[in-house]
Each structure stands twice: as C-alpha cells, then as structure tokens.
C-alpha cells in the first residue's frame, strides 16, 4: 500500500531522498553550488549505512562523469549530480554516455554559466547539453524534482530506450527553497523502479564484451547515430507511460507538457521550470478579470514534445515563449526555436514572441509577466505588431 508523507523540504533534500530510494550502486560526484546539498546528503546516507552505494569522491566533474561511464559500462546503476560549470566540464563525457547507451541518471541544479561569475538560476547549463543525446526533464517544484528523479531511472533503463537522463530543477529557487511536498515510502519506490539488469556488463566475466570501440571512416558511426535517434524517439512513449504509471501511484499528473487554461485561451505563455508557477499566478488573476489566458509548461525538453505543444497552442492568437537561456546570434532562445518549429505545421500562423528573462537569477517579478500578457493581448487584438526578441526587464 503506497504511503506518502507530507514534508516541508528543499528540492535538494527531496532529490537526494529520491536517489537513495532508487538504490544506485555507484555515485561518483563532485560538489558545486547549488547542487552541493544533494551530494552531501548522499555521502551521509552512504556513511550512515542508509544506502549501499559506492560513493566515489572524484577530483572534478570531468572525472565524475568518466567514472559514471565506467561504472555504468561495468553494469552498475549509476547516479550523480552537478550544476553549471560542472556540467560544462562534463561535456565530452555526456556525449560518450549517450553514445554508449548507458542509463546514467544525473540531477542538475540549473545555474548560470560564467562570465561574469554567477551562481544563480538560469538554464544556460542544461541548454548547453541539449544536443548531447541525453533525455532532459525540467521540474517546476521540489515535488516535481523528486518525482522526475524517480521516473528518470525507469526511463533510462527501459529496454527500448537505454539512454542517460538528466533530471533538473532551478538552482536556489527550487533546490534551496522550502516547499511542501510528499515523499513516497521506500518500498513503493523500490518496487516501482525495480532492479537494473544490464545486458552487456563488463563485470560479467561469463560474457566478455567490449565497450567504447572504434567506428571511424568507412565504419558505421553514421548508423550508430541513427540508432541513437531512434532510441530517443522511442523515449517519447516511455516518458509518457512511466509518467502515467507513477501518476497512478501518486495521484499527480506527469505529461510531456502541462497546460493551464488552454481549453479556450486566446493568448498563452510557454515556459520551463519554476517560473511556470509565477506565470500561472498571473494568469489566474487575468482569468478573474475575464481574460482568456493560458500557460503551457514544458516538462520534457528532450525528446521535445512537438505534437503536444502544437495541440495545446492550436487556435491561440498570440504566444510568448519565456527563455531562461541564450542562444547568441540565433533568432531566439532554445525554447523559442523549438516552439516556433512545433507550430510550423499548423494551418494557421500564430505570432510568437521570445522573452529572454531571469538570466543569472535576475528577479522574475509579477509585473514582468503582467507585461508579457499585456503585450500578447495587444498582438492578439491587432493593436501591436509582434516585436522581436525582448530582454524582459533589462535596463
């Protein structure tokens, strides 16, 4: 019988609990703000015997992901966590983990990248890893960070997928704020996640295999990349079915996207992560005034839910995309490029405006989101033309 306990906790505490409940065999990790309390908790769990994992203190994130790749190829269930510069330092191993099809689960505390130095929230670090072949989930709340982390193991280790999964939450906003959330009992999580049975473990001496072989010029490198593409495409259904399964146990919904007010919305904001809450708060106020506004939150960024977004935004008169990261020189941030692409196949042509916001933890004030909805209202009524990219609230 699944038993949930309601707690007042930070996102990081809950993510550490989720990783403990999923019983990884190996945790190679290096601390970095604002991820630190996750790995501190995990180290404590191991030291106190609450977890039977091999906790590897490495000298950098480059080594953390290298050790994760080695341990996963050896046949272990592997989890780690990082943030910002740490994720950037892992860059080459991220590609290797995905190319070798190793189901590593990593938590990322979303944080800005230097320079200038900044330790606060934005999505630049994760978006820098968006093309590495990892499945990428974004959480809005501590609760969602917990749930996503548990589901990550199931998605990663699914025989149709076998790809690494990055489960993320907004640095400080979600990782360090105390939030009300429910934690599931250990037995229910253990039963949900199950045991990991690797197919090609290096430590299986009865069945010798080689990992990390060469596929150079004239070799099938091209075909391997195609098979990786097929796997992440298959992950779409797996993200949905694992979400439905966890939803049946917890009573919380887990779609690729989460919509609010989209049944009859005339204007809508598309957003990722913690700001979805702010957007809904503003939208609720506008609804009370009779304005037909909606919010679409993207929970799964890779694979990107094109069909779900097109379905949610169909019939809307104007859309604002809120990007908490840059793609300098592109027409907009990473989310804008995806959303506009998702809308291309619709018959009607919906105006889409990109708002870059909150970089380096810049405050996402209610007035700023008010302004976005006001802009959308002007575009929808034809009193204003869609502007180009806007740096929301920049002086």
């Amino acid at each position: 019988m699944p038993t949930q306990k309601t707690l007042a906790v930070t996102g990081n505490t809950l993510v550490a609990e989720a990783i403990r409940q999923c019983s990884p065999d190996v945790i190679p990790a290096y601390p970095i703000t604002p991820q630190t309390t996750v790995v501190e908790e995990l180290a404590k769990f191991v030291a106190n015997g609450r977890m039977h994992a091999e906790y590897v203190n490495v000298e950098s994130e480059h080594s953390a992901m290298s050790a994760a790749v080695g341990a996963s190829a050896a046949g272990a269930r592997v989890a780690t966590a990082t943030s910002s510069q740490g994720l950037a330092l892992m860059w080459e191993e991220l590609h290797i983990a995905a190319g070798l099809r190793l189901p590593i689960v990593m938590f990322n505390a979303n944080r800005a990248l230097a320079a200038p130095i900044n330790i606060h929230c934005d999505h630049s670090d994760v978006m820098g890893a968006r093309d590495t072949g990892w499945i990428i989930l974004f959480a809005e709340t501590a609760q969602e960070a917990y749930d996503n982390t548990i589901m990550s193991f199931r998605i990663a280790e699914h025989p149709e997928v076998l790809l690494p999964v990055m489960t993320t939450a907004d640095g400080f906003i979600t990782t360090h704020s105390i939030d009300r959330a429910q934690i599931m009992d250990d037995e229910t999580v253990a039963a949900f996640v199950g045991d990991y049975e690797p197919e090609n473990a290096l430590l299986d001496f009865g069945k010798p295999v080689t990992h990390g072989s060469f596929a150079g010029l004239g070799g099938p490198y091209f075909e391997f990349k195609n098979s990786q593409r097929m796997a992440i495409e298959r992950a779409r259904d797996v993200v949905k079915s694992v979400g439905a399964e966890w939803s049946a146990i917890t009573g919380r919904p887990f779609g690729m996207v989460e919509t609010w007010g989209m049944e009859d919305a005339e204007t809508a904001i598309v957003v990722i992560g913690s700001t979805a809450g702010n957007a809904r708060h503003v939208a609720r106020g506008l609804r009370a005034e009779g304005k037909k506004v909606g919010v679409v939150k993207v929970r799964c960024f890779r694979p990107f839910p094109y069909a779900e977004l097109a379905a949610a935004l169909k019939g809307v008169k104007a859309v604002a995309v809120m990007d908490r990261s840059e793609s300098f020189g592109a027409e907009g941030g990473p989310l804008f490029l995806e959303v506009r692409s998702a809308l291309y196949d619709l018959d009607e042509r919906i105006p889409v405006v990109d708002y870059i916001y909150g970089l380096g933890g810049a405050d996402v004030k209610i007035e700023l989101i008010d302004r976005v909805f006001a802009d959308l209202s002007d575009i929808a009524s034809g009193t204003a033309a869609p502007s180009g990219l806007v740096y929301l609230g920049a002086r």
């Binding site: 070798l100 076998l162 295999v209 080689t210 990390g212 099938p220 075909e223 195609n226 097929m230 796997a231």
Partner: protein
C-alpha cells in the same frame, strides 16, 4: 567465435549492437587493420637465419611462425612500421613501398 559479422556492410542502423558494443571476445583478428600500410616487409629466405627477432619485436603479432620458423607476414594486420626490418641482424627484411611493383625475391 559466435558473433557473425560477415554481413556487417549490409546491416541497417538498428541491427548493430546497441552503443557499439562488441558482444564477443577474441575477434580482433577478424578486423582488418592493415589497410593504411604504406610499405610492406619482404623477407629474403636465403639471408634469414630464423633467429625470430622479427617475431619477437613485431608490435602487432603480424609475423607468422610455424614449427619455430618464420613463414610469412600477416598483411591483414601489418601496419608497415618497419621494426622487423630494423631489428633483423641478417638484413633479410626489406621495406617495399605499397602500390609499387614488388622486387623479385631470390
């Protein structure tokens, strides 16, 4: 040997082992790596004293030996490094450019 790669050139993307794993051991001899050799060793049997230095020094196990005597070179794996010719105390091995007419061996 259980892994049949004889039709590897015809495999579709989803037929390769996941993650480029080689699901077998001891199959490096099936993988032809001598293709980029620019010169090949040629042995003069009349000069050869069968000291086996070439067999000992070859970094790629490409000197074939039977009954304690060098028979020939495994050109599927020889990279043409020339170590065998360098260490031969009897000057019995000559490195010959690939793609050229081979000199007649007496």
């Amino acid at each position: 040997m259980t892994w049949d790669i004889s039709k590897i050139d015809e495999w579709k993307s989803d037929e390769f082992p996941r993650g480029a794993v080689i699901p077998d051991s001891g199959n490096s001899r099936d993988y032809v790596t001598g293709g980029w050799r620019s010169q090949r060793p040629v042995r003069d049997d009349a000069k050869c004293t069968q000291c086996l230095f070439c067999w000992i020094y070859c970094p790629d196990s490409s000197v074939n030996v039977a009954d304690e005597k060098v028979t020939d070179f495994n050109l599927n794996h020889c990279k043409g490094c020339g170590v065998c010719a360098q260490v031969c105390p009897a000057d019995a091995i000559t490195m010959v450019p690939e793609g050229c007419e081979l000199p007649e061996v007496k």
